[in-house]
Amino acid sequence: MENMYLPYRMFIEKITEEAPLVRTYRLKFKNPQDEEKFSFKAGQFGEYSVFGEGESTFCIASSPTRKGYIECTFRVAGRVTKALANCEEGDEIGFRGPYGNTFPIDDWKGKNLLFIAGGIGLPPLRCVIWNCLDLRENFNDITILYGARSVQDLVYKHELEEWNNRSDVNLITTVDPGGETPDWKGKVGFVPTILKEASPKSENTIAAVCGPPIMIKLTLPVLFELGFNEENIFTTLENRMKCGIGKCGHCAVGPYYVCKDGPVITYKELQSLPQEY
């Protein structure tokens, strides 16, 4: 039997400063055999660790279509993320995963996709966005609505530019009022307001929403107003986690474990859970 707590040993190939206290690490396997047997799907997450400091949970922010590496984006918040932020390119990192369920993108063939993200909520969607863009012919219209508190808080700035320049992606970026800079070309306003303004069609459309709880709370009524039904709205949950495999109990929401039954969930399924997320 395998010791499921043994991490893969990886090294940081590239560090990108995204926003204040927010970084993206590109990680590669130290052992080529580990890389060969490793695979994951959009929506899954992992436990990233600095030996001697502990583990922290983040989604895999890169797409499974991009082989040979994984990426994670994190904000410095506690002991482990502080230790991670002190790492440099070439340094070693532990990784366990992939864990959790996935976005059912095979079922989304032929549909329009609407991604709505707020702040640090873009990394979990970035994985599925690139996954869908790399299989672009499988989907109809792709719309991405991304908002942050201020221009400097927007993550993946280069990729936003790339999506903006693509004719097959409709990107709408927005910042909260007061968060704009003189040369800001995007919208100014909160995500739910901008969503209402853009009013994307709900017919044959899947919506995936990820962001701070307050954004999700105010975005959902707009989606319902636009005609989206509960089965076609996906989100990805976050709860404090330790083991990632349904044992430590931290992420439990009633009988549901975010780590193994989630983190990807439809709004309809969410309704059946106690509000403990």
Partner: protein
């Protein structure tokens, strides 16, 4: 199932012989005013005349703190190492039927899905010798959760004290092997009815109705009121034979270190607190509710079994005198 008997005076020889064979023997042992499971080196150390140990023998298979792996830095490379398996068998003597049922639940929880390497290493080398309860106290309620004070569930061997001897039930292969190894102490026996030798534990509520009655209990308006004395110390969880929650922490030294898992509890606020500061279970009453519903509702949905075995430790040890019996009764009466 096979049956044996052993004379009362032979039991000490049997236990001492197990110890002499280099097996680790855990048994109830008096420590100041309480009784705990501890390693013993002689039968005489075993406590007599107690109702229940303060803690169960859960730590034999799921220790308070254990190494998940160790690591060492060698020439700039990190070398990871599994913890070694236990060398010898551990025999746990004097397991109450409620605790036996708890081991059964632990095995289901840890091994059914994503089997746990560390639990399995210990569990495979642990032999549980249970003993039928001759009496209970006001905290015992095994019969309310579908367990009897002479239940053999989860145990390898079961002893029941008769007039001049112990009646021995051999439940599993593990148990059978142990009896064979020490067969000189045992005599053959026929199956008997244990009722006469078994404690009478009153049934406070009907376990078959618990799930149905508790299915809407999340929205019960009296959680705040009923949990008011709870201040979140976690004693209930740490003395619970079925609590499985843990934390993972690193311990480092200049050359390497270990990743450890340590018992944790949903009774404390930090258990669910996000890095952002958001806490899905902000109030103590929400944490208490989670504990009660986890034991009596959620695991029934997950594994088809309640995860309370009615040992009564949470109430017996609670510094605020919260009674789980009263709590479940109150919800069921709604």
């Amino acid at each position: 199932m096979e049956y044996r008997k052993i004379k009362i005076d032979k039991l000490s020889n049997f236990i001492n012989a197990i110890i002499a064979k280099n097996k680790k023997l855990l048994a109830p042992k008096q420590k100041k005013e309480k009784v705990f499971f501890a390693e013993i080196k002689s039968f005489d150390e075993i406590a007599k005349n107690y109702i229940q140990t303060a803690f169960s023998a859960k730590s034999a298979v799921f220790p308070k703190c254990e190494e998940l792996f160790s690591y060492e830095k060698i020439n700039g490379e990190t070398v990871l190492k599994n913890p070694p398996p236990p060398e010898n068998d551990t025999v746990v003597f004097g397991v109450r039927p409620c605790d036996g049922a708890a081991f059964d639940y632990l095995a289901t929880f840890f091994l059914k899905e994503n089997p746990d390497f560390h639990f399995k290493q210990r569990y495979d080398k642990t032999i549980l010798i249970g003993i039928t309860c001759e009496s209970g106290d006001e905290f015992c309620f095994c019969t309310s959760v579908g367990i009897s004070p002479s239940d053999t569930r989860g145990l390898d061997i079961m002893l029941t004290k008769l007039e001049n001897e112990y009646y021995v039930e051999i439940i599993t292969d593990k148990g059978s092997k142990l009896i064979q190894e020490f067969s000189e102490y045992f005599e053959n026996a026929e199956k008997i009815d244990k009722t006469k030798y078994t404690a009478n534990i009153p049934e406070y509520f009907n376990n078959k109705l618990v799930r149905e009655k508790l299915s809407d209990a999340f929205a019960w308006e009296k959680w705040d009121e009923s949990s008011l004395p709870c201040f979140g110390c976690g004693t209930c969880a740490f003395s619970c034979p079925t609590c499985t929650c843990f934390d993972i922490q690193d311990e480092a030294n200049p050359y390497g270190g270990s990743r450890l898992r340590l018992w944790d509890t949903c009774a404390i606020g930090l258990f669910t607190k996000h890095a952002s500061g958001h806490n899905p279970r902000e109030k103590q009453s929400e944490r208490w509710r989670n504990r009660v519903l986890h034991k009596f509702l959620y695991t029934d949905e997950q594994f088809g079994t309640l995860s309370c075995v009615g040992c009564g430790r949470c109430s017996r040890n609670c510094p605020a005198s919260l009674s789980i019996i009263d709590q479940v009764k109150a919800i069921m009466e709604v």
